[in-house]
């Protein structure tokens, strides 16, 4: 059996504000296997983004162990493609230059970076927007550019924090399908955050349900719908049943 892409064991986080201590994560265990699409779902404000910052290496856990590709030691920054909630495109860079950002940080020669970004835009049907500034792009397009930037930096492990949260239903569905294409094209491993149960079911192999703060893993659900996934799979009886189960679980957590 392959080594898991991500292994998190007993991760906790406590913030200190003067004398008060705010416990955000109680021991959390989480695994993302290589090539797996795993999703973290939980009530809003439960600490999902904190967990992501820790995995991305932007923040440190109070206790616990995190291993990406089996490596526990050393800095985690740079070992995953991290995409926060907002697209965070640089307004002075064109779409193509934004996609290149990660390569610029890695000091890849300009020509090479340009070539790679251009090929990626071409492959995923965005090449006609290569020269556009972000201000001229719609919300959905910005999110696609941000995703391509994430993939170009590191396609093997993607951390996506509610990337489609701000989109209208139709754009969201089209981006979800687009993301699945991207995932299978790159054989990536993905850890995805959402608070949308249907989104979690449509995309994932496995769903981690987090409790209200302080977050712990309330339940792990395996999604055995056929691949490649299609929107109509959500109408299958097992999907409907899963959805009801997860919604009632989350409602309970939100209340408590």
């Amino acid at each position: 059996m392959d080594e898991p892409k991500l292994l998190a064991r007993g991760v906790t986080k406590t913030f200190h504000d003067g004398r008060r201590a705010l416990e955000v994560l109680t021991p959390i265990d989480l695994t993302v296997n290589t090539g797996e699409f795993a999703t973290v779902i939980g009530p809003s404000g439960c600490g999902k983004s904190t967990l992501f910052n820790i995995i991305a290496g932007v923040d440190q856990p109070t206790a616990g162990v995190i291993a990406i590709d089996g490596a526990e030691k050393g800095a985690r920054a740079g070992m995953c493609g991290y995409m926060p909630q907002q697209p965070l495109l640089l307004p002075w860079r064109t779409a193509e230059e934004n996609v290149m950002l990660g390569l610029d940080v890695r000091r890849v020669p300009r020509k090479q970076a340009q070539h790679d970004a251009h090929e990626l835009l071409k492959r995923f049907g965005m090449v006609e927007f290569a020269g556009n500034y972000p201000a001229t792009l719609s919300g959905g397009m910005k999110q696609r550019i941000a995703l391509l930037r994430t993939v170009l930096f590191n396609s093997s492990f993607l951390l996506l924090d509610e990337p489609f949260g701000a989109l209208d239903a139709l754009s969201r569905l089209s981006l979800q399908m687009w993301l699945l294409d991207l995932w299978s094209a790159f054989h990536s491993s993905i850890l995805f955050i959402t608070h949308d149960v249907r989104e979690a079911i449509l995309l994932s192999d496995r769903v981690y349900v987090l409790s209200a703060r302080p977050a712990r893993v309330a339940r792990v659900v395996q999604i055995d719908l056929p691949r490649p996934r299609l929107p109509e799979h959500l109408a299958l009886s097992q999907a409907v049943q899963l959805e009801q189960e997860l919604v009632s679980l989350l409602m309970k957590e939100q209340r408590s």
């Binding site: 290496g57 991290y82 640089l90 001229t136």
Partner: protein
């Protein structure tokens, strides 16, 4: 597009013409002595008659202004980065910067004269001291305005401090930097003129002073007119540079300029 931008100045031009007409009318009706208040037409006449002398002085003042402004820009940028590097350098530098602005520069000008003579250098220094502050403050604010989420994203990519500064914070500070530059450039010519007033071989400042001393009020006004026009041109130059340097910034305020390239927007 260009026509529309020029048309934007229409109201200002109308107002200036009306004010000049009222001035002309007042001088004509009240028969005030031209040694006290010359009419606008008389000022233009004096300017044309003395253009050979005035132009030489203008070139001198312009030279001081441009060199001083260029140095002030570099100095302002450097100060902004110093303010930004760490809390320690900020705490060390910021009070000094503010205090430097409370010193009446006009009191320092004679000292510059004693130390450096009547030439170009004291004027350039004066212009730098006169103009760098708004550039430094605006640029420091611009550097501090980077979104924390953006910085987190760069950290997740393992970017170094300098990479974050170079890739995100400096380019993001450019609009603020240009705002500071526009304020600075508005003052810059005045700075050069004030320092010439204290003592100079040539320049519009010393020309105004000698004209005033000899009672040639129309020549003082002519020099003021030239100062205003050249300052406006410098301001226009900075605005033009900003448009060239930051096409994306003006693209966001005026999307019509850029949209046709995209043709359409999808999803």
């Amino acid at each position: 597009m260009k026509l529309r931008r020029i048309a934007g100045f229409g109201p200002a031009i109308v107002l200036v013409v009306v004010l000049l007409a009222l001035w002309q009318l007042y001088v004509y009706v009240s028969k005030v002595s031209p040694h006290l208040l010359p009419a606008p037409t008389a000022i233009v006449q004096a300017l044309l008659n003395n253009w050979d002398v005035i132009s030489v002085n203008t070139v001198q003042t312009l030279l001081e202004t441009v060199i001083g402004m260029a140095a002030a820009t570099l100095f302002g940028l450097l100060m902004a980065i110093l303010l930004d590097i760490s809390l320690w350098t900020r705490r060390a530098v910021y009070p000094l910067l503010v205090v430097s602005q409370t010193i009446p520069l006009i009191a320092l000008a004679p000292l510059f004269l004693i130390w450096m003579g009547f030439g170009l250098e004291p004027k350039v220094i004066f212009v730098i001291l006169y103009c760098f502050f708004p550039i430094a403050v605006a640029c420091a604010d611009g550097l501090a305005s980077a979104e924390p989420e953006m910085l987190n994203l760069l950290r997740s990519m393992r970017a170094s401090r300098w990479q974050i500064l170079w890739l995100v914070r400096l380019p993001g500070a450019m609009p603020a930097f240009f705002s500071g530059l526009r304020i600075g450039v508005t003052y810059s010519m005045t700075g050069a003129i004030v320092s010439e007033y204290i003592g100079a071989y040539q320049g519009l400042g010393i020309y105004m002073e000698t004209s005033a001393n000899s009672g040639a009020v129309d020549l003082v006004f002519a020099a003021i007119l030239v100062t205003a026009i050249v300052s406006l041109l410098l301001f226009g130059l900075v605005s033009w540079l900003e448009r060239i340097a930051l096409p994306w910034y003006h693209g966001t305020t005026n999307q019509a300029l850029i949209l046709p390239r995209a043709g359409r927007m999808i999803v």
